[in-house]
């Protein structure tokens, strides 16, 4: 049995990786992936607690998060494609104006 703390440390590491990626990277797709990483870091902690305390609500919540993340990915990727078509770049520093 792997102790709960290991899951939580891994979850923390994943979350911090996501945060750092979000802050440092300039490519929108990478930023997007960092967000997913953060979500999944949180998911990991949810399921870890759910397994520990034998409570199903944590697992259910993870499904919700996954659904939202999937919807987000669909919308997000569509926006990214639209952005790339109009501006021919995915560098966020160049995409700081809503108006062209």
């Amino acid at each position: 049995m792997v102790p709960l703390s290991c899951y939580l440390v891994l979850s923390g590491i994943l979350f911090v990786c996501g945060v750092l990626g979000f802050l440092i990277k300039r490519n929108i797709i990478t930023i997007f992936m960092s967000i997913e990483l953060m979500l999944n870091g949180v998911n990991l902690s949810f399921v870890a607690f759910a397994a520990q305390w034998h409570a199903l609500s944590g697992q259910v919540f993870v499904f919700f998060v996954m659904v939202v993340a999937a919807a987000e990915a669909a919308v997000g990727l569509a926006i990214i494609i639209a952005v790339y078509r109009t501006r021919e770049t995915l560098n966020v520093d160049r995409v700081n104006l809503l108006k062209l």
Binding site: V19, F22, L23, V92, N96
Partner: protein
């Protein structure tokens, strides 16, 4: 009309002039001068008419009358109402105020006709009448205080009537501020009364006081109340040490000087002290202070009057001196003698001021007596009436001033010969400076710049009227009429005191009896003494006249040489004993310095302004340092969010560990 139902008429007397003031004040700007005069005179005259009506039906048997107009303050057992009250004392004041006031209203029509602020002037005069009548007819001290403050306001407005002139505006302020000092004392006295008697109503207070016995020595509530009331009276009636405002008040138009600063308002202090006789009679120490202040003021102001060259300033110091007599009378317990002198003084001093106004009018705004002279031939009516007033104030029988002044001196002698002696010396000086004024103004040759255009061109430089003057001329009849009436009163006014009629009439008001004043029983020895003292006062009046005649008519060069011989003393008198300078040094300058360094630079700039400025400055400093956070860079914001989240988590973890 029966004497019993006079009461409802009482409230109309003050309200009539108030209506006049309101009409002229609100609509006067658009009205013609004739309409303004009609309104002002009608309402004032009507008040006089009602007063006469009341006097005609007055009956001592059913006095005092009172009329409750409205409730004002109801707080637990304490209540103050707008009640009017009429007894013998108020009746005398009522007739003097409305009568003399009405005459001066008529005079003002002639005197102020050419002034741009005519409607304003008439409105203020009516307003003054309202407040003065409120003061006189009040049934309790608080309503009296309303009138008291109101006449101060009217006085301020009228002294500063020509407010574009700096000295007039300053004189108005000075009068108001000096009066505040007195009012402060008055107010504290009222608080003491509320605390100890639970009421401000005359009847209640005097009934409560009536059962007390005189306070021995100089301690006690009644003494404190008496002294504080005297502080108020000293402010309003221009007694030492608060007299300094009255000479400056001569900056106002001359009818104002006559009405407010001679005949009526300044006597309010005497009236108040006389009204409070029940309190004063049980506070011998306070009464003594009243007598001493009155006596000293009488002498002090009279000596200043000798050396003044401005005709109105002479009369102003004379007024202060005469008010001193009245307080001397009150101080020795002869309240009715004080009120008697108040009445005759209103006649002859009102007349003197109006005649002086006529002179000033006639010579085109000049007030310096050294530039007058010889006016006897130019303005015979003014000369005749002013001569009568001078005889009256000097105490030459049978004119009004003789009777009242002699009454005071006789009562003063009974209290202490010292009062009498100072009073007689003052009578001598009074006679001297008044006849000096007469000789300088009317005697000799005209010394003014006749035929030159030097007069009356600095707009409102003095009481001028903007039209150039060649030779002096007599005033119109609208001005002379009041002079003649007042002259007649100055002749016969004294006879009401003959055989102590006046004193007996007022006796119910001072019902406690003159505990301190000696009983003037008609014993032979007393009669002898009274006649002897009378002879002395007549002869000093004659001596004063003689001296003035010698110095200013026979040998006009002599006064200058005597003045030079006296040197420093003369300079001190000319400069009014440097009292204004002394006050400036002792009180005004420290206040200004303290306000400048401590309140202005210290508190206002150092604390209030500084706290506002510093908080704004601090906000700017903080903003300057943190504004870099708002860079517009999305990821830096995210970074701040992450950092903030990290801090919160770290805090929670730390709390959890602990």
């Amino acid at each position: 009309m029966t004497p019993q139902n006079l009461s409802p008429l009482l409230c109309t007397i003050p309200l009539l002039p108030l209506a006049g003031a309101a009409i002229n004040g609100f609509f006067g700007r658009q009205s013609s001068k004739k309409a303004i005069s009609a309104v002002a005179l009608a309402f004032c005259g009507l008040a006089f008419f009602v007063a006469v009506l009341i006097a005609a039906n007055f009956s001592s048997a059913s006095a005092p009358y009172s009329f409750p107009l409205a409730h004002w303050i109801r707080s637990g057992s304490f209540s103050v109402d707008f009640d009017f009250y009429l007894d013998q004392l108020s009746l005398v004041m009522l007739l003097v105020v409305t009568g003399v006031g009405f005459l001066i209203h008529i005079y003002s029509v002639g005197y102020m006709w050419d002034d741009d602020g005519y409607y304003r002037f008439m409105s203020y005069l009516n307003l003054f009448m309202f407040f003065m009548l409120t003061l006189v007819l009040a049934k309790n001290y608080l309503v009296m205080f309303i009138g008291w403050e109101g006449v101060g306001l009217a006085s301020y407005l009228l002294i500063g009537f020509w407010f574009t002139k700096d000295s007039a505006a300053a004189a108005g302020k000075k009068a108001f501020i000096v009066n505040r000092i007195g009012d402060f004392g008055f107010l504290i006295a009222l608080f003491l009364m509320i605390k100890h008697f639970g009421s401000l109503d005359f009847t209640h207070v005097f009934a409560a006081v009536g059962v007390l016995s005189p306070e021995p020595g100089g301690a006690g509530t009644l003494t404190a109340i008496g002294l504080l009331l005297m502080v108020g009276a000293a402010g309003k009636s221009a007694q030492i040490p608060l007299y300094v405002w009255l000479p400056d008040a001569m900056e106002g138009p001359t009818p104002v000087s006559a009405l407010i600063h001679a005949a009526t308002m300044v006597t309010a202090g005497v009236y108040m002290v006389a009204r409070s006789s029940a309190i004063f009679e049980r506070a011998p120490m306070a009464l003594m202070v009243v007598a001493i202040i009155g006596t000293l003021t009488a002498l002090f102001a009279a000596t200043i009057g000798i050396a003044q060259t401005d005709i109105k300033k002479v009369l102003a110091y004379s007024t202060i001196s005469q008010l001193g007599y009245m307080f001397m009378a009150c101080g020795v317990g002869a309240f009715s003698a004080g009120i008697f002198h108040l009445m005759t003084h209103a006649f002859f001093k009102g007349l003197l001021f109006l005649a002086a106004g006529s002179v000033i009018h006639g010579v085109g705004g000049e007030q310096d007596m050294r530039k007058m002279g010889g006016l006897r031939t130019y303005m015979p009516w003014t000369f005749a009436t002013m001569g009568i007033a001078t005889l009256a104030i000097a105490g030459i029988p049978p004119f009004a001033g003789f009777w009242s002044k002699d009454e005071i001196l006789w009562k003063a002698y009974g209290a202490s010969p010292v009062y009498w002696l100072i009073g007689v010396v003052t009578a001598f000086i009074t006679s001297f400076y008044m006849f000096r004024l007469m000789y300088m103004t009317f005697g000799g040759e005209y010394r003014g710049a006749a035929g030159q255009e030097a007069h009356g061109h600095d707009a409102h430089g003095h009481d001028d009227h903007g039209h150039g003057h060649g030779t002096p001329h007599e005033s119109p009849w609208v001005m002379l009429g009041p002079l003649v009436v007042l002259a007649a009163l100055s002749v016969v006014g004294g006879f009401v005191g003959y055989g102590n009629h006046f004193e007996h009439f007022l006796a119910p008001v001072f019902h406690v009896g003159d505990v301190i004043a000696p009983e003037t029983s008609p014993e032979a020895a007393d009669r002898m003494l009274e006649h002897l003292l009378m002879g002395v006062s007549i002869s000093v009046a004659g001596l004063g006249w003689l001296l003035a005649y010698l110095l200013y008519s026979r040998r006009p060069q002599l006064p200058a040489r005597i003045a030079a011989g006296l040197g420093g003393l003369y300079q001190a008198v000319v400069n009014k004993y440097y009292v204004d300078e002394l006050y400036a040094l002792l009180f005004i300058q420290p206040v200004i310095d303290g306000s400048t360094t401590i309140l202005w630079h210290g508190v206002d700039q150092g604390v209030i302004d500084a706290s506002v400025n510093e908080s704004a400055h601090a906000a700017r400093e903080v903003s300057d340092s943190v504004r870099h956070m708002q860079s517009g860079n999305l990821r830096s914001y995210a970074g701040w969010v992450a950092a903030g989240g990290a801090v919160v988590i770290a805090y929670m973890v730390w709390m959890g560990v602990r």
